[in-house]
Subunit: 337 residues, 2 copies
DNA sequence: CGCCGGACGTTATACGTAACACTTCGCGGT
DNA sequence: ACCGCGAAGTGTTACGTATAACGTCCGGCG
């Protein structure tokens, strides 16, 4: 911004066009109908173009008191999922003249001390994933309008929420596996403190618990393929009857489970069924292709942005969870009895 | 930003603490040594805290004439690669008191009309991937300091560049495959107009051309697993002697090649060797694990940010391409003669 | 005693923009 | 002849911050 020779201001344009700065503002702001002659307006536009004038956004934001920019806080960029969320949010935002700025809580920089100091952009509002929990306290510090993605609606935050119907997904998945005849499960859980995964675990346990003779083991791993591999390998090799199905909290965890199975000499799906969550590109790259729960990331982003726009305009955001869909592929089958 | 009851300003804090607005600015800006007593400073800090005061970034940016914020323009967020670039850039930026804002050219919104209108943040500079080509003209429109990632250093842009040593990677890869005895190749190329891929193709062809009796077929596909699968399947089923090795411009393309091989009944690596580029998590999720060229995305981001800081301070950015590394795994072997 | 300089502030100003309030002028109606 | 009114602008102000320039008090030194 601080250029060698400072950039032209609206006053420079005014001088060049032989009008006042106010007239420039009128013309460039497209509010000149009936206030400035068409000829003058054209002269102003020409001068602005010749000088390469670009308005100073800091000044405009200050004057206007808003920025038409919102912040999207995501846990990290290591998955396509939040890429989809961003795409959806940005699409809706663009249609309403808003911009979206991303704040991925950066790994290895430690907990985000202050997202707003880092994203120096002045903001009108915030959309935050509940998985970026370390940034939440800082967010609450500001009194910005806030929409939470996948968070406890009854939580203490008192913010608007947009949720995926994770519970329904867990039910569909449990029913699928139970119908195939599975009774012993390994839940390979994401090592993230998040409402999403808590709800999922609870619902899974509840649904599976309705059938007699079932049991669920739980292993926990960070969402990387190698951590998941190690956790799954240890859990599957543990004493006692081996689980016949591994339910993973993420497609990447499932990829880890595949590797563990290979190392233990277990074939999928004959010896072991595996399921994921997300339906990333990875899901169809695996062999056999992964049975997983498809989450519509873009729709998630769109709904998040729409909710924030509603809050900004003082309206009540539309409720209703976003439906999810079980996609059955080759990684699940009846257990060998 | 436009809140119901407007947020407190530094003047409100001043009133509450019984001092002038200037004193508040001094204290909160940590420039009060020898100008304000420790007791008064403490009183100001207390008042600021009680009122929940947060400085107005727009006003500060306007006053200061800079924002300590830079923009990172990436082609899309669909790969972990640019997640790594962001992480590296953000780490360096944070160490220098800068923030990084991401501008992924959003898919489905069409070519970015004006990244700076969208990212309303006022900016000090820009780092752009050459793969986000559609945004480039808009970028040149502004006279912001610019660093290009992986772009032709002699190109007409006249901007600073930071490059991966893609050419060396191509040489390492060609030597590896030639040494194994491969002579007929399929180059599964990324369908993106980018200097990176052009250099790679040229270098690959040059290196392989040094050996007699070699031949390279080229197929082109967008970087999605299914597009790559279709392109690879068609190319491998084409008449004439079948290539024994597939060189992919991206790990995702390689995943598509795996699927094509499965459908054609070809085993990897016995019937077909496959190589990738990037070394994403996907590479080790595949079976067999993928031989690929590892790109250090984080270092790439760090170097990009350092170069931009140099430009901002009027220094010459450090040159030197970033080395890349061939990682040999199970997907390459000598062809069955 | 006179005067200097540090400690402790304050006053005033500028950053670039948008918008309110105001002026000037020509012209049509009565 | 006079009023009213719309067109075509201009003058001025405010947004909230950081900082340069300016005061004032007081202890101490020559």
């Amino acid at each position: 911004m601080a250029r060698g020779s400072t950039r032209p201001t609206s006053r420079d344009v005014a001088r060049a066009a032989g009008v006042s700065q106010a007239a420039v503002s009128l013309v460039l702001g497209d509010k000149w109908r009936g206030r400035v002659s068409a000829a003058t307006a054209e002269r102003v536009r020409q001068a602005a173009h010749d000088l390469g004038y670009r308005p100073n956004l800091a000044a405009r934001n200050l004057r206007l008191g808003h920025t038409r920019t919102v912040l999207l806080v995501v846990p990290a960029l290591t998955t396509e999922f939040f890429a989809g969320v961003y795409t959806g949010a940005a699409r809706v935002a663009a249609a309403h003249g808003f911009g979206v700025v991303l704040y991925p809580s950066p790994e290895g920089i430690g907990p985000a001390r202050d997202p707003f100091a880092s994203a120096q952009a002045a903001l009108d509002g915030v959309i935050a994933s509940s998985m970026a929990a370390d940034a939440l306290t800082a967010i609450r510090g500001d009194q910005l309008p806030l929409v939470m993605l996948d968070s406890d609606p009854d939580g203490s935050l008192g913010a608007a929420t947009v949720n995926l119907d994770i519970a329904d997904g867990a039910r569909q998945l449990a029913d699928h596996l139970l119908a195939l005849g599975h009774r012993r499960f390994l839940h390979l859980a994401a090592d993230i403190a998040s409402w999403t995964f808590e709800v999922r675990a609870r619902e899974l346990a509840a649904r599976i618990g309705t059938v007699a003779g079932t049991g669920v083991r739980t292993a926990r791993a960070p969402i990387t393929i190698d951590d998941a591999r190690a956790a799954a390998e240890a859990a599957l090799a543990a004493p006692g009857p081996r689980p016949t199905a591994v339910i993973c909290d993420d497609d990447k965890l499932a990829a880890g489970a595949y590797k563990a199975a290979r190392r233990l000499g277990l074939r999928i799906p004959d010896d072991l069924s595996v399921t994921g969550l997300d339906d990333l590109a990875l899901a169809t790259a695996l062999d056999p292709e992964l049975t997983t729960i498809r989450l519509d990331a873009e729709l998630f982003g769109e709904r998040g942005m729409l909710a924030l726009l509603a809050v900004l305009e003082g309206r009540e955001p539309d409720g209703g969870d976003i439906p999810v869909e079980l996609v059955v592929r080759g990684s699940t089958a009846a257990p060998r009895s």
